[in-house]
Symmetry: C2
Subunit: 383 residues, 2 copies
Amino acid sequence: MPDKVLDDISHRRYNPLTDSWLLVSPHRTKRPWQGQQEAAVERELPEYDPKCYLCPGNSRAAGDRNPQYEKTFAFVNDYSAVKEQQPDYENNPSSDDPESWLLQAQGVKGVCYVLTFSPKHHLTLADLPGKDILPIVEHWTRIYANHLSAASPLAKLAGELDLSLGPQDSPVPKDEYRYMQIFENKGAAMGCSNPHPHCQVWTTSTLPEEPGKELRQMAKYRSSHGGRHLLQDYVELELKKGERVVWHNDTFAVVCPWWAIWPFEVVIIARSHLRSLVDLSAAQRLHLAEAIQEVARRYDNLFGTSFPYSSGLHQAPLAGSEEEVESSYLHMHFYPPLLRSATVRKFLVGYELMAEPQRDITPEQAAARLRDCGGPLYRGKVA
Amino acid sequence: MPDKVLDDISHRRYNPLTDSWLLVSPHRTKRPWQGQQEAAVERELPEYDPKCYLCPGNSRAAGDRNPQYEKTFAFVNDYSAVKEQQPDYENNPSSDDPESWLLQAQGVKGVCYVLTFSPKHHLTLADLPGKDILPIVEHWTRIYANHLSAASPLAKLAGELDLSLGPQDSPVPKDEYRYMQIFENKGAAMGCSNPHPHCQVWTTSTLPEEPGKELRQMAKYRSSHGGRHLLQDYVELELKKGERVVWHNDTFAVVCPWWAIWPFEVVIIARSHLRSLVDLSAAQRLHLAEAIQEVARRYDNLFGTSFPYSSGLHQAPLAGSEEEVESSYLHMHFYPPLLRSATVRKFLVGYELMAEPQRDITPEQAAARLRDCGGPLYRGKVA
Ligand SMILES: O=P(O)(O)O[C@H]1O[C@H](CO)[C@@H](O)[C@H](O)[C@H]1O
Ligand SMILES: O=P(O)(O)O[C@H]1O[C@H](CO)[C@@H](O)[C@H](O)[C@H]1O
C-alpha cells in the first residue's frame, strides 16, 4: 500500500536511477483540456509501400537497395548523427584558462543503424505475437555482441552466443565504441517519420548522459549495499507490493515506476541480475519478447489507438570497467506522451523544462489502468 | 572564432550550468523531413474574445470574474499543480530500510498564478514594444518581492522597491516558499491552451531540479574562482567572441549558448551580477523588457510565423542561504522547438530521452540567423 495521502496531495518523488526528483499533482487530472489535439486519424497502411525506404526490395536515399528480407534487416542510416570517420578532437580544460572550461567540447565517433522489425509495412510490435518479436530481440543481441569491445568482460559470452549472424544483417564495426543505445520512436507524435516498424541503434565513442547517470547510481548502490543491485531490490519490492506492477513472467516484470514522468511510462526490469542481452538464454530472450508484446498491446488497448512512445534498452556499455559492467542491469524504458485519450497528450514544457518534470495521474493509477487492458488487441488481427 | 573543425564533426558540448553534455551533429541538417508537420495556419484572433477566461470582464472556471484590467492581471490558477493547504508529508529514508530510500516522497505546497501580459487577446510579446513589456517585468518584480522570505538577504531591497502593488494584481502569500518559477508556454506546440498572452508563476516549498542544479554549479564556480560568477565570466567571453551573441544593451546580452539543446535556444544574461528582479533599477527593468522584445520579434521574423517557445526566469530562491542568494545570477531561458520552418520542428525523443540531447544546426549558425532577423516585425503592426 502506498501512503494513501499521496493520492490527494502534491508531492515530489525521487528517482534513484538518475538521482533526481519530479513533481506529482494527483488532483490536477480534473483539469479540462482546450489546447492542441494530436491527429487521431488512423491511416490504413498497405502491407507493402513502394515509396517506403524500409520495405524489402526498395531503394534508399543513398541509392542502396534493400534485400528481400524475411524477418529483420539492419543498415547504416543514410543521415547518421554520428560518423565512423572524422578528425579527432578534444579540448582539455585547464584551470588557468576559464575559457577552456566554459567552452568544452569532445569529438564523438560512432555508427547509427536502422533496424526493421518486419518486412510488413503495416505492422507494429502490438500486432506481432511474442514469437515474432523474438527475431528482433535476437537481432539486438547479435548487433550488441558484434560491437562489444574485445576487452569487455562480456566478450567471451558474446563469442559463445547460440545465434549466428545472417549475411548482411549485422554490419561489422570498424572501431571500438563505448556505448550502444537501442531505441524506437513510434508514431508521428514522437518524431517518427516512417510508420514501417523499425528501431534505431546508435553506437558512440562516448558514454551518453542518461545511461551514464544510471550506471553511477547503480554502482554506488551496489558498493553501499554489499553487492546488491538497485534494480533487483526495486523490482522485488514492486512485486511484493503489487500496486505498480502491470505484468510479469519468470524473467521480467513490467512496472509503472515510482518515479515515472510520462503519464503511462513503464519499465521492463529483469527479475534477477542480467548485465546485457548476451546474458540471456534462448528462453529468456522469448520472455523479453513477450514482455515487449504485453506493453505494446496494452498501450494500444488503453485508448483504442496505435499508441505513440519512445522506448530504449539500457544495458552494459560496449567497453567499460569490470565494475561498470557488473553494476549494469538490463531494463527497457517506455516513454509515451498520451494522457487522456488518443488525441490529448501531456506536454513537458515550461515548468517541466525550466524547473522540474510534473505529472498529474499517479503511477499507481496508471498501472491499474494498464493491468485492465490485457485482453486481445482492440483492432483484432491485421489482415 | 570557434574551432572551425566543430562545424563538420559530430561532437559533444558541455553545459557548465547543469553539469551535463549534449550531442551536436552539424552535418545532419541535410536530412530531409517526411514526418509530422505542425499546424501552420495563423488564425486571425479578435482583440476581445467573449469565451476567453483571460480577457477583461470575463468569468473563469471557478466562477470568478476578471476585472477590467488595463495592463497585466494575476490570479491563482483554477487548476493549480500545487496547493497552499494540504496535510504535511515526508518519509525520511533510513539506511536500515531500503524501501524508504527506493520509494522516497516529499509533500510540496505552493501557489500557481496565471499572469496576463495585456488585456488584448490577439497580442504576443513580439507585438508589444519594450515600453509595453515593462509593466510585465514590473509585475514579475512585485510578485517576486511579495513572496520573498522575511529572512532572505533580499527582503530589505524588496521592502524599498520603487513599485507599489495595485489592488488585486499581486495576491499576497499565506506562507513562506522556497522558489518561484516564472515561465511562459507560447503556442499550441508548447502545450499552451489559450493564445491570450500570459505566463505562469509557480511558487513551491521545495527548490526544483533545474534551478537547484544551476545554483549548485554557480556556487561551486564562485568558490573555486575567487568569488567570480560563472555566468558573468561566460557572458563576457561571449561578448568578446561575438559569434554566439544575437543582441545586447547595457544591462543584458542575448546569446545562443554554447550548450544550447533546442535549435534556436537563447538565453538573456545579465552583464553584471544581478541576483534577482529586485536588484534591477527602473532603467534596468526597461532593458530587460527590451531584450525580451528583441528575442520575441526575431523569433517571429525567423520563419515568418508566431514562433512557439517555453521561456523561464532563473533567479535567487525566495528563501535561501546567504551563499545561495549571492551565487544566484539572473537569466532567462528560451526553448523553442522549431527547426527548419513554421511547420518543421525538432523532436527531442528516443535518443534524446534515453541517451543524450542531440541537435543538428550549431549554436553559432543559429545566432547568425537570429542576428539577421532584427528588422521590423514581419507581419507589421496588429490593427
Ligand atoms: O498550465 P497549462 O498551461 O494549462 O499547462 C501547460 O503547462 C504546464 C506547465 O508547464 C504543463 O504541466 C502542462 O502539461 C501544459 O499543458
Ligand atoms: O532519426 P529519425 O527517426 O529521422 O529522427 C527522430 O529520432 C531522432 C533520435 O531520437 C531525433 O534526433 C530526431 O529529432 C527525430 O525526428
